[in-house]
C-alpha cells in the first residue's frame, strides 16, 4: 500500500489540484502529515485573525517597500522586537525578512551579481545539488513538480551560492534554508539572504555550519549540551546516563534552523525571531522543547528518547506555546562564555580554527561581500 502510493507520487507533470494547507504543503490524505502541517484548524484561524489586526500596524511600521523601516527600528527597537516575537504577518514576511537580515542592502549594493553567478558560472557541486533538489520540501506544492519553477529556483540559488563561496560549496541542509526563503521571495532575494546569514551581515556568520569539519555545528552542540545541563540538570544528567549526545537529535535543528522536520507554522515563527535576534533563538527553542516535554523525557530510556526527539507532541510545536517558553531562557551571555570555553578547548586539542570570525560584518564592509563574489567569479574559470 505504502509503495503504491509512493509510486503514484512520482508521476511527473503538474501536480493535480490536491488539497494544500495555507503554506502550500500538500495535505496528507488523513492523519497528521509528516511535516506536521495539517494541524488543528484553531491555530490557523487564530493566526489569521491576529494577522488582520497586525498587518495594519506592520504596514505603518515598514512604510512603502520598507522605506520607513530603518528609521522605525532605530527609534523603537523594543517595539520591533516584541512585534517580531509575536509573529510577522505572513503576507509581509518576505519583505520583512529581507529588511531585518540585511539582505536587502546586499542586493542593492550588488546589482547583477546574482545573475552572473547563475548564468556564467559552473559549480563543482552541481550534481550534488541536483540529487537533493527533489528531496527538499518534497511535500510542498511549489517544489513537487519535477523541473518545475520551484525546483529550478532552488537549484539556481544553491548553485549560485556554491560558486559564490567555494569553501562552503553545497552542503545538505542548505537546501532547506534556500527552499524556505523561496517560499517568501524571489531567487535573487533568497540568494542574498543566504549570503547575509552565512557571511554574517547582521549577526555572527553561520558559514561554519557548512564548512569542512562542520566546526560551528560542533560548537553549537557543545554549547547546547552545556545549556541543557545547566538549565535542566535532572534531564541533562539523565541524558548522560542514557548516553544521549546532542548530535543524535539537535544537529538538524542547527543545520537547518528548524526548517527540516518541524511544523511549518512553527518554522516561520522561529525564523522571524532568528533573523532579527540571531542563532540564540535556536538554542532557546531547543531548550523549550526539552522543557515542555521534560517530565516525560526524564523517564524514557535511550531508544525511546531518540524516538521522542523526532516525534514531539503537537502541543509542544505550537509556536504560541513554545516561543513564550523559549524566551524565558536567558542564554546570550552564557552562550558567549561557552563559545570561549569551547574555543579554548579546541586550541588545547590543537584543532582547526575555522570558526574564528564570529562577529558580524559591519554594514560598511558589506559591499566587499559582493565584490568578493565578483572576484571569485573572475578568478575561477572552470
Amino acid at each position: 500500500m505504502d509503495k503504491k502510493k509512493a509510486v503514484d507520487d512520482t508521476e511527473p507533470g503538474p501536480a493535480p489540484s490536491r488539497p494544500v494547507d495555507r503554506f502550500g504543503f500538500i495535505k496528507p490524505e488523513q492523519g497528521t502529515s509528516p511535516d506536521g502541517i495539517s494541524k488543528s484548524k484553531s491555530i490557523h484561524e487564530r493566526e489569521r485573525e491576529r494577522d488582520g489586526r497586525r498587518i495594519k500596524k506592520w504596514r505603518k511600521m515598514i512604510g512603502v517597500g520598507g522605506s520607513d523601516w530603518k528609521h522605525y527600528v532605530r527609534r523603537n527597537p523594543h517595539v520591533v522586537k516584541r512585534r517580531i516575537r509575536k509573529g510577522i504577518p505572513d503576507c509581509l514576511r518576505g519583505l520583512v525578512w529581507q529588511l531585518i537580515s540585511g539582505s536587502r542592502d546586499l542586493l542593492l549594493m550588488n546589482p547583477g551579481v546574482y545573475e552572473t553567478l547563475v548564468i556564467y558560472e559552473t559549480s563543482a557541486s552541481e550534481l550534488e545539488i541536483i540529487r537533493d533538489i527533489s528531496r527538499t520540501f518534497p511535500s510542498h506544492i511549489f517544489f513537487q513538480q519535477r523541473h518545475g519553477p520551484g525546483q529550478r529556483s532552488l537549484y539556481n540559488v544553491l548553485k549560485a551560492y556554491s560558486v559564490y563561496d567555494r569553501d562552503v560549496g553545497y552542503v545538505q541542509g542548505m537546501g532547506f534554508l534556500a527552499g524556505l526563503l523561496l517560499l517568501y521571495m524571489s531567487e535573487e532575494d533568497a540568494f542574498w539572504l543566504l549570503v547575509a546569514l552565512l557571511k554574517g551581515a547582521v549577526h555572527a556568520p553561520m558559514e561554519g555550519l557548512y564548512q569542512a569539519g562542520l566546526p560551528l555545528v560542533q560548537q553549537y552542540l557543545y554549547q547546547f549540551e552545556k545549556l541543557v545541563l545547566e538549565q535542566m540538570p535532572q534531564l541533562g544528567q539523565h541524558f548522560i546516563e542514557e548516553m544521549i549526545n546532542p548530535s543524535m537529535y539537535a544537529s538538524q535543528w542547527f543545520i537547518t534552523v528548524f526548517s527540516y522536520s518541524f511544523p511549518f507554522h512553527l518554522t516561520v515563527r522561529v525564523w522571524d525571531v532568528f533573523l532579527y535576534e540571531g542563532i540564540k533563538v535556536v538554542f532557546q527553542v531547543g531548550l523549550a522543547l526539552l522543557r515542555f516535554c521534560h517530565d516525560e523525557l526524564v523517564k524514557l530510556p535511550f531508544e525511546k528518547l531518540l524516538h521522542a526527539f523526532r516525534n514531539f507532541p503537537e502541543e509542544a510545536t505550537d509556536p504560541d506555546v513554545l516561543l513564550p517558553i523559549a524566551f524565558t531562557f536567558k542564554v546570550s551571555s552564557r552562550l558567549e562564555e561557552l563559545e570561549k570555553e569551547y574555543q579554548k578547548k579546541l586550541e588545547g586539542s590543537n584543532a582547526s580554527t575555522s570558526t574564528k570570525r564570529s562577529h558580524p560584518l559591519k554594514l560598511k564592509t558589506m559591499s566587499r561581500i559582493g565584490s568578493r563574489a565578483l572576484s571569485n567569479f573572475t578568478n575561477s574559470e572552470k
Binding site: 505504502d2 509503495k3 509512493a6 509510486v7 507520487d9 512520482t10 550534488e128 540529487r131 537533493d132 527533489s134 528531496r135 527538499t136 520540501f137 518534497p138 511535500s139 513537487q144 552542503v171 545538505q172 541542509g173 537546501g175 532547506f176 557548512y210 569542512a212 569539519g213 562542520l214 555545528v217 560542533q218 546516563e241 542514557e242 548516553m243 549526545n245 548530535s247 543524535m248 544537529s251 538538524q252 543545520i255 537547518t256 527540516y260 522536520s261 530510556p301 535511550f302 531508544e303 525511546k304 531518540l306 523526532r310
Partner: protein
C-alpha cells in the same frame, strides 16, 4: 544477584543480544529507505535527504536467539563525516550501500572502506549492498563486478531493492548472523579458557575486547 537494569535493558523488550549497526554510503543511494523498509516495512519515493543521523531498531531471530539491531542511518555527503564518523565507534556491523544505477557510488565504496578502517573497530563486519535493482533499465554496476570486488575485499554482498523489498531482510539477517557467530565463537572460547570474567552471559553488554572508553556508543556489543 540484584543489579540495576542497564539502560538498554529497560523498556519492556527482551533480547539476547544487542548489535549496533551503521548504514553508510554515498548520498542518495537509499540508506534511509533500506532502514525504513527493514524496521517499518515502508518506503517513500519523496523522502528528504538525511541531515546528521537517524536511528531505528528491529528485533529478529538469529539461530534461535533474539537479536536486536540498533541501526544508525547517516547522512551520506562527505562533509557530514565530521559528525557521522563518531557513530562508527562501537558498531559491530556496517551496511555499506551503493546505488547499482550510479557507478560513482560503487567507485566510492573503497573510500568508505577506508573511512571504516580509520574510524571503526577493525573487526567490524561489513556487508556491501547494491541497492535499487528495481531500476533494471538504469543499471550501471554489474552483479559480477560487485561480486568479485566483495570477494577480494572479504565482504558479504547482496543486491537489494528497498522499493520492492527484495533482499532487504536478507541483507540485515546476513550481517546480524555473521556478527552473532563471531560473538558466540568468542564467548565459547572465553568459556573454554575458563576465564570467568571473560565469559559472556546472554543479555549483557558484550565487551569482547577493550574499546575506546570515550565512545558514547558503547551501550551495545563491541568487539
Amino acid at each position: 544477584m540484584a543489579r540495576r537494569p542497564a539502560p538498554w535493558e529497560q523498556g519492556g523488550d527482551e533480547y539476547d543480544y544487542l548489535f549496533k549497526i551503521v548504514l553508510i554510503g554515498d548520498s542518495g543511494v537509499g540508506k534511509s529507505n533500506l532502514l525504513s523498509r527493514f524496521t517499518r516495512n515502508s518506503f517513500s519515493l519523496d523522502s528528504k535527504s538525511t541531515i546528521g543521523v537517524e536511528f531505528a531498531t528491529r528485533t529478529i531471530q538469529v539461530e534461535g536467539k533474539i537479536v536486536k539491531a540498533q541501526i544508525w542511518d547517516t547522512a551520506g555527503q562527505e562533509r557530514y563525516r565530521a559528525i557521522t564518523s563518531a557513530y562508527y565507534r562501537g558498531a559491530v556491523g556496517a551496511l555499506l550501500v551503493y546505488d547499482v544505477t550510479k557507478a560513482t557510488t560503487f567507485e566510492n565504496v573503497k573510500r568508505w572502506l577506508k573511512e571504516l578502517r580509520d574510524h571503526a573497530d577493525s573487526n567490524i563486519v561489513v556487508m556491501l549492498i547494491g541497492n535499487k535493482i528495481d531500476l533494471k533499465h538504469l543499471r550501471s554496476v554489474s552483479l559480477e563486478d560487485a561480486t568479485s570486488f566483495a570477494e577480494r575485499e572479504g565482504l558479504s554482498f547482496v543486491e537489494t531493492s528497498a522499493l520492492d523489498a527484495t533482499n532487504v531482510d536478507k541483507a540485515f539477517q546476513t550481517v546480524l548472523t555473521e556478527i552473532y557467530r563471531i560473538i558466540s565463537k568468542k564467548a565459547l572460547a572465553a568459556d573454554e579458557a575458563g576465564a570467568g570474567a571473560g565469559a559472556v552471559r546472554e543479555g549483557q553488554s558484550i565487551q569482547v575486547s577493550a574499546t575506546d572508553s570515550s565512545s558514547f556508543t558503547s551501550r551495545c556489543c563491541s568487539f
